[in-house]
Symmetry: C2
Subunit: 334 residues, 2 copies
DNA sequence: CGCCGAATTGTTATCGATAACATGATACCG
DNA sequence: CGGTATCATGTTATCGATAACAATTCGGCG
């Protein structure tokens, strides 16, 4: 309705200086306990709402941690995000979220925006960035964490795992169970670096085992999910039977492939093995259960929180590199 | 490294006043075109980064829209969020996201925090709130939108659909296809109001059709997903065959139930019908496809964006109530 | 040439909270 | 009882951008 209530108004009402109110609301013990209680009471009565913007401005500490994700519409990233929110919320920090839609140029633009909010740290998903973006970030004296990857040339700290190692686990397992004709199902060559790295991991591992060339099945532009996996296999029809294993870029894609394969009467895993990535819920519940790789999305979030706490406490100075690893989870599709 | 670069520094470098720099960076046409270009150039060279905090403080406009979601780890809410982000991003607004974990008390706390950031609007998911929270919000002269619901007594604007109507569609359909012994599979009675409303909708619709009492199958505390649906049906074993339809609170739960039912050899839909809610991807890809209700998550987001634009442009004054509706999508599980 | 309106740039005050420093009140000691 | 340590509160200046108002420059025209 009228003008907003500020600390000055509260101060006037209690008959004290704004400074005392400020201290009282922060529970500063140098303020008399009775005064503190009275200030809180009056602030409540007046409907006073603290202004974080003014605080952020004055103290030059925004209370924000900026986070970029390729997409929130992905259970794994969402899980990491949840862990971050919960962990940082306890530390009084707010997350500022931006999604890149799997495009590095979008990431640059996004980070540019986020930086204007003066975040106290920057958490990026993935290790691929534009040069301009690297410059942007390194020009500031700002803690940076890259997660979900183990980049060669990191911007700062790293909490992730090796996508190519993870794919190697899958290929090793398939080879051990007698498969030789592999096809990789993923997004088209393009802006999604994570997909590209996984693809490269499969190709390298196959080569190491002396397998024939890995076929590429293009499920369309990133992000690809259940319906894209289902569609591409349905479109291929019986042609898919020339392979004895489909290595999918993610569990949802694998589930889509599985579903289409079953609809066309293929027996999984007898006729065709299918593997996923990410240990999504659907992999555990589907029928048959999908062989996948567990990447511990939540753990990544927790480790990032711990790292940030270390950084803010001054306990961390040198760049940290945490490999959370990944583990093969054998299901019933291989 | 050193002190941050401010407009004052840029101004000094160009030999002009900070005011001119401010105008130039905002592309104010009262500033000479050449000057504008030079200012931008110098700002870039100095590595100047605009300070939104200072701007927000001075103008008393934060550029934030606060949004609460029960959880980001839900493809439907994530979809709405994505539409909001994209739409509001174009308008130069940033989303401030908080998740309530399906608890109204948590919502109150969250909104309290979010309000300290001076958001220009508040977008809430759901229509159930604590009294304290209603007071909090109404004390401020702040546009409020409740979405994903059609509350009786809204706080402000509404963009949603009727959960009980949606469930009635499901029940009508089941009755029309000859089912009579229904069981509802959802979260335990508790803080999740959306689940409770859906359950009530099923009960009311069943009563209207003169069906026997609807059984309640408790899949555990909210949020419930695939694994909970799978677990509770697996635990019930053959007992589940006493019902001829499982009405699930969401598609993921339905998929879990479907999977367990299939594993124990039940034929769906011959022995047992299963329905979901939300038109998740899994409903379209699963085998058989799950009968569900489409709630157009993305459309909700778009409508909220349009409404917000109207509000900010001053085109909207009276509270708006948009019913985006919901539509039965018949699959192969019923 | 002198004057006027348009174009361009400058000055001042301000948003609300708080760090740093200063002051006043109170207790406690020998 | 004077003096000093402790507790409690107040004063002042400040963070960076910008609205509102003021001033200056410039071209053109009678």
């Amino acid at each position: 309705m009228g003008a907003r209530v500020t600390m000055r108004d509260v101060a006037q009402a209690v008959g004290m200086s704004p400074m005392t109110v400020s201290r009282a609301l922060r529970d500063d013990r140098t303020v008399n306990a009775k005064t503190r209680a009275r200030v809180r009471q009056v602030a409540d009565d007046l409907g006073y709402v603290y202004d974080s913007t003014a605080q952020a401005f004055r103290t030059q500490k925004s209370g924000f941690v900026a986070v970029t994700l390729p997409s929130v519409n992905n259970a794994n990233f969402a899980e990491t995000f949840r862990a971050l929110t919960n962990g940082l919320g306890e530390a009084g920090l707010q997350l500022l979220l931006g999604s890149t839609n799997y495009r590095v140029e979008r990431e640059e633009e996004l980070v540019r925006q986020l930086l204007t909010r003066n975040p106290e740290a920057l958490v990026l998903t993935g290790g691929h960035h534009t040069d301009e973006m690297r410059r942007l970030v390194q020009a500031r004296d700002l803690p940076v964490i890259e997660m979900w990857d183990l980049p060669e040339d990191p911007l700062g700290h790293v909490v992730g795992f090796s996508n190519s190692d993870a794919m190697a686990h899958i290929v090793d397992h398939l080879v051990a169970t007698g498969r030789r004709k592999l096809a990789f199902v993923g997004a088209s060559e393009g802006a999604d670096m994570r997909g590209a790295v996984r693809r490269a991991g499969v190709v390298a591992a196959a080569r190491a085992h002396g397998l024939p060339e890995v076929a590429m099945i293009d499920a369309g532009p990133a992000p690809v999910s259940m319906r894209h996996g289902a569609a591409v296999i349905e479109a291929m029809g019986r042609d898919v039977a020339q392979y004895d294993a489909l290595v999918c870029v993610s569990d949802p894609v694998a589930f889509g492939c599985l579903s289409s394969a079953q609809r066309m009467g293929l027996r999984v895993p007898d006729d065709l093995a299918i593997t996923g990535f990410g240990h999504f819920e659907v992999a555990k519940v589907s029928n048959p259960r999908i062989t996948t790789v567990n990447v511990q999305a939540e753990d990544i979030g927790r480790q990032v929180v711990a790292l940030l706490q270390g950084i803010f406490d001054g306990a961390v100075d040198d760049p940290v590199r945490v490999d959370v690893g990944s583990a093969l989870v054998v299901g019933e599709t291989s």
